[in-house]
């Protein structure tokens, strides 16, 4: 038995995993319309490379990754692109964003794929490129592009590869199903990842002990491989052991320091679903276009795991499982601890949708009202990141961003263990999420204000410099003028009494005469006057509109401007009338 460590805190919510394991893994008939949001991963949204009306094949690239921290998106089935438009996204804000909408033609024709039988012979870069181009993102729920995690910085030596089969959250059994039905692919995927990381010393597959069948299945698959260095490690069930940093601590005893990555302690951790996707990408050239999702909850007639194409609308899935909207407490994407409620079922399954939870009112009643904090400290006992949730709570309420940072709020994984144990039912994680957002906004504002200050100071300097130069030029001109005058006086003195011609006066008179006789065509003049009138009257209109909206002192100021504008309008009208009279008369 390999040694396992324990993490601080953690809770044991009721598992509720048996409801979705009664039936075998199933597939649904293809949905008529599939919606692919351009952003299903951490990082920048992908850029669509298809247009409305294009025919696409299953597995065809339809959106390219934008930069290194982004992921490709592929068509989950064959059909036509019916549009690239804003649709409601499966995001806690309920907002919408650009999506590629594909209407399926029902034929499910594959595009040409780049299969590779001897992937063991492929070199590092080719292997990585296959995984990257398949658009694989962390399927355990985080959505971090896998290709980046699998390519740690050059100086970091990876000695442990961990496959995360923990699935600690209640209700969710997607990874359990995957490990039971596709154990060989998990093992093969582990081998590919190991190859990519330069064959680390230990390759561990971490599975909680509440999944004995999955453990058996994987162990059996491992025993069929010769000389395999991979080890299945089972450890006591606790939420949230499946968090990356928590799992690393359990399996290796190493703690990832605050602000650092697992690669910094020599570990790379990948979800089993992402591992299988990587295997399929390398071996068969298949991009990430479908995933196993748990559909569970008492408001459904059928509860099971399904292999579902990415982009399938959740409403369609619910329909196929006998969903009764009247019974449901709330529709949750994800699990009961870390999922979020959906306002509408009109959102698609994305790469990170590990569960669709539709509990009945009896199963998941509305949360009781929050009461005052009694300072019991149970939250600190439960925190897996060894933080002080109570202090974070008080400082969140006081909006004291400095103190929050000092208490390491950035290390909070938002697992919800503290909210779960709180006897006052305070939604602690909501406070931390809001505070993190406020801190991010504050940092953005600070950066902007620093930039603005720099610009303003530069502008002051520029103006000063211009002033100084102007002064210098003026002084120089004055000196030159004096010199010229002196020279002229000297010249006049030497020439004696010559008639003093007022040169400047002549020049000015000549200019005035020229201006008077200048031929401006009447059309141009008319156009000029009409333009002046129209701008003056539109200015008057706008000022009037503003005057109506304003009140009090501001209104008086604006009314003064209205009078001003009215004068200008009448002025312009008079000029135009005069001109027209002159022309016509």
């Amino acid at each position: 038995m390999r040694k396992v460590w324990d993490i601080h805190g953690g809770v044991h919510p009721p598992e509720n995993k048996q409801q979705s394991m009664q039936q075998a893994l199933a597939s649904l008939p293809l949905a008529p319309e599939l919606v692919l949001p351009l952003n299903q991963h951490i990082g920048k949204p992908a850029i669509a490379i298809v247009a409305e009306g294009d025919t696409v094949l299953k597995g065809q690239l339809i959106a390219k990754a934008d930069g290194p921290i982004s992921a490709n998106i592929h068509a989950p089935t064959s059909g036509t692109v019916s549009g690239i438009e804003d649709r409601t996204l499966p995001h806690p804000s309920g907002g919408s964003g650009p999506c590629i909408v594909i209407s399926s033609d029902g034929k499910d024709t594959w595009a040409e794929l780049d299969a590779c039988e001897n992937y063991q012979t492929l070199d590092h870069n080719t292997l990585l490129e296959k995984i990257r181009s398949a658009g694989i993102a962390g399927m355990g729920g985080a959505g971090f592009p896998a290709a980046i995690k699998l390519n740690p910085r050059g100086n970091l030596k990876i000695d442990t590869l961990i496959l995360n089969g923990t699935e600690c959250e209640p209700y969710i059994t997607a990874d359990d199903t995957l490990m039971q039905t596709r154990a060989q692919e998990v093992v093969a995927g582990a081998q590919i990842l190991a190859q990519l990381l330069g064959n680390p010393k230990s390759i561990l597959i971490g599975i909680e002990d509440n999944k004995p069948e999955a453990i058996r299945s994987i162990s059996k698959a491992l025993s069929e491989v010769e000389n395999n260095p991979i080890e299945v490690v089972s450890f006591p069930t606790k939420y949230p052991s499946g968090g990356e940093k928590q799992l690393i601590q359990i399996l290796t005893g190493r703690e990832v320091p605050a602000g650092k990555l697992p690669a910094d302690v020599g570990v790379v951790c990948q979800n089993v679903g992402s591992t299988v996707a990587a295997y399929r990408a390398v071996r068969f050239g298949e991009p990430l276009i479908s995933r196993i999702t748990t559909v569970v909850g008492e408001a459904l007639e059928i509860q099971r795991n399904i292999e579902v194409p990415i982009g399938t609308p959740i409403g369609y899935i619910l329909e196929q499982h006998g969903f009764t909207a009247a019974n449901v407490s709330r529709l949750i994407m994800g699990g009961p601890m870390m999922g979020f409620a959906l306002n509408t079922a009109d959102v698609p399954v994305i790469k990170t949708t590990n569960c669709i939870l539709a509990p009945s009112r009896a199963e998941m009643p509305a949360p009781p009202p929050a009461q005052a904090c009694i300072r019991c400290g149970m939250c600190a006992e439960a925190c897996p990141a060894s933080l002080l949730p109570q202090q974070l709570f008080w400082y969140s309420m006081a909006e004291d961003l400095d103190k929050l940072e000092a208490h390491n709020i950035a290390d909070c994984i938002e697992c919800g263990a503290c909210s779960y144990v709180c006897p006052s039912n305070i939604p602690l994680v909501q406070f931390y999420r809001a505070s993190k957002g406020a801190m991010k906004q504050h940092a953005i504002d600070k950066e902007k204000s620093d930039r603005s200050r720099a610009r303003f100071e530069f502008r002051q300097q520029r103006i000063e410099k211009a002033e100084v130069e102007k002064e210098a030029k003026r002084a120089a001109r004055k000196v030159a003028a004096e010199a010229a005058k002196a020279k002229l006086a000297a010249k006049q003195a030497s020439e004696g009494d010559s008639p003093k011609t007022d040169d400047t006066a002549d020049v000015v008179a000549a200019a005035i005469a020229k201006a008077k006789t200048q031929d401006i065509s009447p059309e141009v003049q008319l156009a000029k006057l009409e333009r002046a009138l129209s701008s003056a009257s539109s200015r008057l209109d706008r000022t009037l509109a503003r005057a109506e909206e304003a009140e009090g002192e501001k209104k008086d100021a604006i009314l003064a401007r209205v009078k001003d504008a009215e004068l200008k309008v009448s002025d312009a009208k008079n000029k135009l009338a005069e001109f027209q009279a002159r022309e016509n008369g």
Partner: protein, 207 residues
């Protein structure tokens, strides 16, 4: 000598005190020269908390002059673009109470606004460019003027000078990337909703 001084206690006392004072005076004089402080670095620290919109709503021609004003004892609640968060931060720095925003100088806007020049009407006069404290308007004489949104702080100083009145202050659209969770209600307000009689009393009080 000491015996002499002891014989005349008053003299002794006087000598002792005067002697001490002289010595200490010398020490302090030396210290005053050695530890001389130029300027007032607190101004920099206050300025770093102000939002740098240079809008003039506080009555000063920019944020640095207002920071200097605050260092000289002015009220800290005159900055509408900074809002209550800035007031709290300055109060924290100076260890004083945080008052609410003085409405005389303007209201805190909920949504940030930026200037937008309607290009069809722009006549290229550069009056707005000269007015912008941030140099956030791109353009030249008789060339099209346009506002660089990333640098615009929404101070409104460009709206007045425009002779054809073609500048609008539009709210900045917030994208999904900027969406953030909002703070749940404070537990005191929540606690009032649990006991029915409290709930009623509270709603009557606030009604």
């Amino acid at each position: 000598m000491i015996e002499l001084i002891i014989q005349y206690p008053v003299l002794a006392a006087l000598l002792a005190m005067v002697g001490l004072s002289l010595v200490f005076g010398a020490v302090l004089g030396f210290a005053a020269v050695k530890f001389k402080v130029e300027g007032d670095p607190i101004v920099e620290q206050i300025d770093s908390l102000l939002p740098q919109t240079q809008c003039g709503q506080c009555g000063h021609p920019g944020c640095k002059p207002y920071a200097e004003g605050i260092a000289n004892g002015e009220a800290i609640n005159k900055c509408p673009p900074g809002g209550q968060t800035t007031i709290n931060a300055i109060a924290d720095l100076l260890d004083v109470e945080a008052p609410t925003l003085d409405e005389e100088h303007g209201e805190e806007k909920d949504l940030p606004t930026v200037a937008y020049i309607r290009e069809d009407e722009c006549i290229g006069c550069t009056k707005c460019i000269q007015a912008c404290p941030m140099d956030a308007i791109l353009g030249a004489a008789k060339q099209m003027h346009t506002v660089i949104i990333d640098e615009c702080t929404g101070c409104d100083l460009c709206v007045e000078p425009c002779p054809v009145d073609c500048i609008d202050m539009l709210p900045l659209e917030s994208t999904l990337g900027e969406w953030k969770w909002s703070l749940p209600p404070r537990s005191e307000t929540l606690a009032l909703n649990i006991i029915a009689s409290d709930r009623k009393a509270h709603s009557e009080a606030s009604a």
